[in-house]
């Protein structure tokens, strides 16, 4: 590659990262709208259960710890990626993937429990907004896991190339972003709901 081509690649990486930041801002606005909906509707229980009677705080705390740990391992994966250590990248992203998967599993368990106890999203506006807000985050986690699975295969097959690194950087950014959103959900929905 000559210098213009390298410059071109560099410029593209930079643009992708900046574009991804802009995308994350739009996603943040989407979550803000969902939080707003939750704030407006969370008292409209229509005779059904309120948040205080519904949530299992220790369980959610465990979920939170798992997601935070996955964020940490994702950070480590990013660090070893910058040093070009393919094997370590694979193992740290695998750890992140498994932690993320267990988070998603726990969330679905929680949803199933609520559904089984007759507190499904159709029951009241409060439950509607709760399931949608937390479910939207869960959907993002699922998308992130799919992305991660694909990237694991890519790194295994192609190793670390500039384009792959740029994608991994965005994936890490996305994962941290979801972590941040979860902290808001944990605080506003669960902590403030129960306490």
């Amino acid at each position: 590659m000559d210098t213009t081509a390298i410059n071109h690649q560099h410029e593209k990486t930079e643009n992708s990262l900046f574009g991804f930041w802009v995308y994350l801002m739009t996603d943040l606005i989407m979550f803000a709208a969902l939080f707003a909906a939750y704030a407006v509707l969370h008292n409209n229980t229509f005779g059904g259960p309120a948040s205080g009677q519904l949530f299992n705080l220790p369980f959610v705390l465990a979920e939170t710890v798992i997601l935070l740990t996955s964020s940490f391992s994702c950070g480590l994966a990013y660090l070893v990626m910058q040093r070009g250590e393919v094997k370590k990248v694979l193992s740290w992203f695998t750890v992140t993937f498994l932690l993320g998967l267990s988070f998603l599993f726990m969330e679905l368990t929680e949803f199933r429990r609520l559904y089984a106890s007759g507190s499904g999203p159709q029951h009241s506006a409060f439950l509607t907004s709760y399931f949608t807000l937390v479910g939207a985050h869960g959907l993002h986690i699922a998308a992130g896991l799919l992305w991660m699975a694909v990237m694991l295969l890519v790194v295994r097959k192609r190793g670390l190339a500039p384009k792959t690194n740029s994608q991994l950087a965005r994936l890490a950014l996305f994962w941290h972003f979801l972590d941040l959103v979860w902290i808001f959900i944990f605080t506003i929905v669960y902590l403030m709901g129960v306490l």
Binding site: N44, F46, G47
Partner: protein, 302 residues
């Protein structure tokens, strides 16, 4: 810059026209000079609608004070400098008068500042929630927007009407508005308006008819197939005629029971006027409670 006589005349003319507009709009604030005949909103039959139409004309006049000179100057300049035919082409004029761009903010700024004051005051003076005359007890009318008709309940008179409304002249009327169906907007152009009718909540609108006569009322928010036919007549009558009307209605009307209301609730288009007496006293708030559901904090609206 030398000014040609033709331009001078134009400048004076615009200046004078502007001054006249300014004076008119100032006068308009205190007294309605422009009363356009037979135009719905301007053909006001109540003090609220009168104040609103006066406000509309005042604001238009004030804005014309800025719009007319700007447009006149704009078109004058466009034609004057057409093809640079007067030889005054000066591409660097802008660089020399660059500061002028900040002066331009002052003119619309000043106008909007004035209009903002009027905005704030009129929003408070003509607040639909505000009682028209704190000394007089208003006539209360509960308004329920149904698919696709208006139900009016007179709780103190114990009668109800559909798509017709009798009110006594010069007595403030307090409309208490809700809906049992999609959102609708309650509007009587010649008395003032509008106010939304929404399920599970109550909005207030205070109006008064200072003239006698029949006025058109309507729904102004689309709420389904029967939207356009959701009109009603408002009859402003003398207080004694109002009493007679109430008494007559009481004698010769069917009762508005829960069962009758169930029938009334069904969607129907272009519904003719009707009168009911007596009225189930819990009807209005019963409907609201149905949407509020079992105890909860309920709807918030700012």
């Amino acid at each position: 810059m030398k000014t040609k006589p033709k331009e001078k005349i134009l400048t004076y003319f615009i200046g004078l026209a502007d001054l006249a507009l300014l004076v008119l709009s100032l006068l308009q604030i205190f007294h309605p000079i422009f009363k356009l005949p037979n135009l719905g909103v301007f053909n006001a039959k109540g003090s609220i609608a009168q104040a609103q139409s006066r406000l509309i004309i005042t604001a238009i006049l004030m804005m014309l004070c800025l719009a007319i000179p700007v447009l006149a100057a704009g078109f004058f300049i466009i034609f004057k400098y057409r093809d640079g035919r007067n030889g005054e082409y000066d591409p660097d004029w802008g660089q020399r008068h660059n500061r002028l761009q900040w002066v331009w903010w002052l003119f619309p700024g000043l106008l909007i500042a004035l209009i903002s004051i009027i905005n704030f005051q009129s929003a408070h003076n003509l607040d639909p929630l505000k009682a028209i005359d704190p000394k007089t007890k208003p006539l209360t009318i509960e308004v329920m927007a149904l698919e696709w008709k208006w139900l009016f309940i007179y709780p103190d008179q114990d009668i109800a009407t559909v798509n017709t409304l009798d009110i006594p002249q010069n007595v403030p009327v307090q409309f208490v508005i809700s809906a049992d169906g999609p959102m609708s907007l309650f509007w009587i152009p010649q008395l003032g308006g509008q106010m939304a009718a929404m399920t599970g909540m109550t909005n207030h609108l205070n109006l008064i008819a200072t003239d006698l006569g029949s006025f058109r009322g309507q729904n102004s928010e689309i709420n389904g197939a029967g939207y356009a036919g959701m009109t009603f007549t408002v009859n402003s009558v003398t207080p004694s005629n109002f009493k007679t009307w109430v008494a007559a209605a009481k004698q010769s009307s069917p009762a508005l029971t829960a069962a009758v209301y169930k029938q009334l609730e069904l969607p129907a288009q272009n519904v003719p006027a009707a009168t009911y007496a007596p009225v189930d006293p819990n009807l209005y708030y019963g409907v609201i409670d149905r949407y509020m559901g079992p105890p909860s904090v309920g709807h918030d609206h700012g």
